[in-house]
Each structure stands twice: as C-alpha cells, then as structure tokens.
C-alpha cells in the first residue's frame, strides 16, 4: 500500500515535459515535490498564477502571493499573473492540459464525486467542477477504500458528483487504473505488496484485468 507521499511520487511519473498542470488541494499539491527537475512544466493556480514556485523562506513570505489552497508560495522565472476570469478562461478553453485532483468516489464511467457529503458540512466546489469539465487529461489521487473498508471505485457514485465521464486515470494507495471509454477500471499496476486479488476485493465497479499485472516502479 502506498502512503500519501507514495501516491504523489507515482503521479509525478505521469508528468511530461512541456505540460501546463493544475494541482488540486491535498495529495495533488505534494506531486510538485516529485516532478523531476529536468522536466520543464508550468503549474497553474486557479486564483491567478502560471508558474507556481516552491514554498517561500521566512523572508520571502508575501501575503499577496498564495495558491488555491491559500498557502504562501513563490513564483518561478517566467511567471504570469491574471484575474480569476482569465484563469478559468484558460482552464475552460482547454489550455491547461492536465488536472490532478482528489476524489471521494469515482464511478466506472469516470464520474467523480469530491465536493459534498450531504448532511455534513458543505464547503463548496471551488474550481473543481470547472476543472473536471474542461481538462484534456484528468488524474485522480485517492484512497481505494474508506476507513471502514468500503470501496470508493464504484459502479456509480453515491455522493453528489462533481463531473460526469471525465476521470481518465486513477492512482490509489493500491493501484494505477485507467477508466475505459466504454466503462470499467482497467488495472495497470499494483502498489508494492498489494496482490491483484486484494485489488479485486477492494474494487466495487467493473475491474478489467488483462494478463499479469506488474508492480509499480518508482
């Protein structure tokens, strides 16, 4: 099983040279720490920045420079600042190629639920609905099962959804899977020490296993 860092490290391997990427709050934010330094990528922050840099030193802290998680950040050389309308124009217009975000549930058709738990606190969807409706490629970072052991990879979502048929790839603590265009989770890789059988038992939606499934490489 992977911990949060493990999931972030594995997702970082999906990043290719020249990509413009939006990272969601939580595990996706950690991905930035593991993107190989020889790759030239630009991280977009939906509150109005292209070119998120590392977290600042004490002396660099600027209250006028935060990411979408309201954390203090710095800017890379070549950054650009803009309004929220411009930011979502580049998201909606399909210019931000990859979105990496967390999920509470994903369905075998690629529906994602990650913004609301009825009866509990509703914090709002922020930019998630815009991002999943428009990014060309969407990778989800998530736990395969709830704390109680219930699968979060389902036939259909039980929670209110954030977007329909949009998730392309999932990196969970147990596996890497693709969502097939016709529906179903295609198992691509197992997390270290996790068997295909365990993944089968932890996946409530249709799981497609084609031949021997290799263990993840880092």
């Amino acid at each position: 099983m992977l911990d949060k860092t493990g999931i972030a490290k594995r997702i970082a391997r999906e990043v290719k040279d020249g990509m413009y990427i939006n990272l969601g709050i939580g595990i996706p934010t950690l991905v930035a720490n593991y993107i190989p330094s020889h790759l030239n990528v630009v991280l977009q922050s939906e509150n109005g920045l292209l070119g998120i840099g590392p977290f600042p030193t004490e002396n660099e802290v600027d209250p006028d420079l935060i990411n979408a998680g309201k954390q203090t950040i710095t800017m890379m050389a070549g950054s650009a600042l803009f309004s929220s309308a411009e930011s979502f124009a580049m998201i909606r217009g399909g210019h931000v190629y990859l979105t990496i975000l967390g999920a509470m549930e994903v369905s075998e058709l690629g529906d994602i639920a990650n913004w609301k738990v009825p009866g509990k606190m509703v914090k709002g969807m922020g930019g998630a609905m815009d991002l999943v409706a428009s990014a060309k490629h969407i990778i989800v970072a998530m736990q395969h099962c709830s704390k109680e052991g219930a699968s979060k990879l389902l036939k259909s979502c039980t929670l209110p959804i954030t977007g329909v048929r949009c998730v392309k790839r999932i990196v969970s603590d147990m596996a890497v899977l693709d969502v097939l265009p016709e529906g179903g989770f295609k198992l691509l890789e197992r997390a270290p020490g996790v068997s295909t059988e365990q993944i089968k038992n932890a996946t409530a939606g249709r799981l497609v296993i084609d031949g021997e499934i290799a263990e993840m490489q880092f």
Partner: protein, 234 residues
C-alpha cells in the same frame, strides 16, 4: 479629468443601506477590501447579499459581517474555514448559493461586460445543473448561466490613481477586476493612491471608467491563512 477621490471608507460607503447586493473582491483573505469591511461592520447595515468567492474566516474578512448577522445571503464558490458560517448555514439563518468558481468569475465578468448569459460545461450532470437550460455544441453539453451584477462592488488594489485606474499585486488580483466592472457603484480601496499620470497606462489592470470612488486605505493587516514555508512539513 474626473476626480473620484474620497477621504476614506466611511465616505465611500455613505449612501449604502440595508438589503443591498454587494460584490467583495478577494480570494481567501488575499486581496480583500479590509477598510471597507471594517466600515460596513461599524455602519451596521443588515440584510446584505454578498457575492464573494469565499466568506473569510471566523474573525477576519467577511467572517466579521457574518458574526454580526449583517449578511442575509452568500453567493460563493468555497466557504470552508469558517465555523460561524457553518453554524448559520446548518441552522438556516443564512442563505447560501454555491457556484463553481469559474462560473462565478465568468458570471461577474459577463455582468460587467453586458452579456446576460453564456454557456459553460462546468456542472453538467451535477446537482447545480438542476433547472438550467442545457444545450449541445459540437457534441459537448453546456449549461446556460446568467450574469451577476451588484448595487455596490468593493474592490482592493495595490495602487490606484485619482481617475480610478487600478493596478493589483500578485494573486491579490483574483476577482477584483471583474467585480470592479460589475457594480453600479464601484468603490476601490488601494494601498497607495497616486496623482493621475503617475501610473504607466500600459500597465493598468482596471481602467478607471469602472471605478466611481477611490481612497487610500489604512493599516492593512493582510492576514495569511496558511503560512507555508519551504521548511514546513506537509
């Protein structure tokens, strides 16, 4: 040259009354009009409909106006980090309309740009699509969303000049430029107010035509919600 300078937040808000619709700039606590929020608190007007991406925190930003029960309705995309907000929402004291952030930004932009409605893919197939017109363009489904406008827009900029031209700094720009254009009356508070002709016209973010009143604010606290350092363990 039209001079738009007022002495401060009290004068800028002199004709604001109960039950108005307000737009308030900012993302989290970044780029919020601190002076005007303090003046609204002091003025004590109630029944406010506040359009703002977030609702502040318990003891800062719009959170201050929630605590005093001056806000009737919030229109936002994300309202976490505020326990008093949660309490009022769950008890039904506060109306809340949650809107996807890009849709919120574009509805405000549309309001300022005179576009009554537009189609967006955000929220298709979700509960926010309920009751909205759906149309397919080139094989993809979109929702019809309407413009948003306000009686008063209150924005915060880094620098401004006496004709109302504004320049923002860092990610404190966020919703401020669209809101400036979408208010019947737009009030801008700035950290530094300079004479017309001082700012480079090539570098203006919000042209002065959108701003009716401007003043130099005082004592900006610029509170940080998540002070995260290179050395912070995450």
């Amino acid at each position: 040259m039209i001079n738009k300078v007022v002495a401060g937040a009290d004068e800028a808000l002199h004709d604001i009354g109960n039950n108005v619709t307000l737009m308030l700039g900012g993302f989290g606590l970044c780029g919020i009009p601190e002076n005007c929020i303090a003046a609204l608190l002091k003025k004590g007007i109630t029944g406010l409909t506040c359009i703002s991406n977030n609702a502040g925190v318990d003891d800062f930003g719009i959170g201050l106006l929630l605590k005093t029960r001056q806000v009737k309705k919030m229109i936002s995309s994300y309202v976490g980090e505020n326990a008093e907000f949660e309490r009022q929402l769950l008890s039904g004291e506060l109306e809340v309309e949650l809107i996807p952030q890009g849709t919120l930004a574009e509805r405000i932009r549309a309001g300022g740009a005179g576009i009554p409605a537009f189609f967006t893919p955000a929220g298709v197939g979700t509960e926010i699509a309920q009751g909205k017109e759906v149309r397919t363009f080139e094989g993809k489904t979109y929702l019809l969303e309407h413009w948003l406008r306000a009686d008063f827009s209150i924005v915060k900029a880094w620098k401004g000049d006496t004709t109302g031209n504004l320049v923002y700094k860092g990610t404190a720009r966020n919703f401020n430029p669209m809101m400036a254009a979408a208010g019947k009356i737009t009030i801008a508070e700035v950290e530094e107010l300079v004479p017309a002709g001082t700012l480079d016209p090539n570098q203006i973010h919000t042209p002065g035509i959108y701003v009716q009143r401007i003043f130099e604010g005082k004592g900006y606290e610029k509170r940080i919600e998540q002070r995260t350092l290179a050395s912070t363990k995450v």
